[in-house]
Symmetry: C2
Subunit: 303 residues, 2 copies
Amino acid sequence: MPELLVVGSVALDSVATPFGAVREALGGSATYFAYAASFFTGIRLVATVGADFPKEHLDLLRGRGVDLSGLQISDGRTFRWTGEYGYDLNEAKTLDTQLNVFADFKPVLAPPLRRAPFLFLANIDPVLQLDVLRQMDERPRLVALDTMNFWIQGKKADLLRVLREVDVVTINDGEARQLAGEANLIRAARAIAAMGPKTVVVKRGEYGALMLCDGLFFMAPAFPLDAVYDPTGAGDTFAGGFVGHLAAMDRVDPSTLRRAVVYGSVMASFTVEDFSLNRLTRLTSEEIGARYDAFQSLTRVEA
Amino acid sequence: MPELLVVGSVALDSVATPFGAVREALGGSATYFAYAASFFTGIRLVATVGADFPKEHLDLLRGRGVDLSGLQISDGRTFRWTGEYGYDLNEAKTLDTQLNVFADFKPVLAPPLRRAPFLFLANIDPVLQLDVLRQMDERPRLVALDTMNFWIQGKKADLLRVLREVDVVTINDGEARQLAGEANLIRAARAIAAMGPKTVVVKRGEYGALMLCDGLFFMAPAFPLDAVYDPTGAGDTFAGGFVGHLAAMDRVDPSTLRRAVVYGSVMASFTVEDFSLNRLTRLTSEEIGARYDAFQSLTRVEA
């Protein structure tokens, strides 16, 4: 099975929503991505944590077969994020960010990691994203990238540089509009595709996802849930299911990409059903398959 | 072909969006509904206008075969609405409402109108909606109803009374939450179904539509448009395509209802491409068919 490499953050998140709260729970873009992808394919994680990082979290990831040989454990404290959501769960309010060891994160790929055929550059400094791509022994079959408003605003030239070299970008709707400088989302997606990535996946939270692929749009709703507890990590979990399915199939044709969007939506729908990775840690492959089928019934017009 | 009756408003709208403006253009819930439905089935309109209502608008509706025998032309001025939209086209800001002759609207159905097998009660006072239903010679095969925040807030008991007697309700997402007193849209839809209508269609503007039908959800995105000029009338046009298709098929089974949601989305997608009914007046059946097919490609996971 082709392998997937993710470079991103591992964090301790303190999150409050109208439905509860957690303190210093497992979080981070690479964590959510890797955990979700582990249901689909072999996955290796590159990130950094501090000496204070709880061993139980490492055990949790190892228990899913996530290769942690690229996880640096540095002197100092782990990256911490504190945020809250109101009833509009689409919008997080950041209360506190302590980068700690993540501030000095310089990913260095050991030789076995440089040969992964599928690479996900989670939301980190675009300079580091490009540096990771340069470290690969050969161009991976698929490179996907996620980013956020912070880099669009502060490091746009660097972001545009790495965007030219990736196949897929996953991005929030608001950030897609910001990156493209275009209020209309359809035109924004086309503008981003013109920056380099042949495939643009726009994550719209409770409104689902939109993919532009070779000039054609695909739209998937979010799975209808009657209880959403915490949207943290939904986007990275989406990406984990999305790229995980592509790696498992070892294909990136339009049909596989459409199915991958549905698998991404399915994985995200589980994540938001509980805080942190709690729902994912109880998840089974059977549940993923059943929700994939339910998702198809939900959107199918003709029987 | 089974016939469809709509009772609602015919108005003159003055609308400004970031992309242009119109003064005293043809509008009103029954107008958009009837014009859209006319592409699918025979349609009769019951509403009221003032003596100042331009004859060209009547000619436009008659030109589409809309039966206007139920349109009262009263002394006084036609209902006028003035509103504007910002870049967030999901939210209209009402600047002025002049009910004029609409304030005294008491729909009286002449005998031929009382036998329509399909009835759409557009967004008017729920007391009038129920009164219209009572005037029917026999219970229509399908009764659909639309409503808005104004009635939910001011006439909730009357609204609940008529809701008990209808088959389908079409409602905005915000208003669905308000009516159900429930922030989660999935639970809100279920709560509304428990009020009477077996089928609940939630209109989500640029995020598409959601249907709850016999306990099963169906979700359709909005058609991706790279230019939206004016969302006024999109919801009523949606309803016109939706009920129009059901009437044309003379069926209300779940598969037909799903196709009807897509036809509704297709019709709404045309309406927003220009101000007032301007895009609809240039529309052809071939364009409707082509966009229906494009819509299917847009959402189909498996080829």
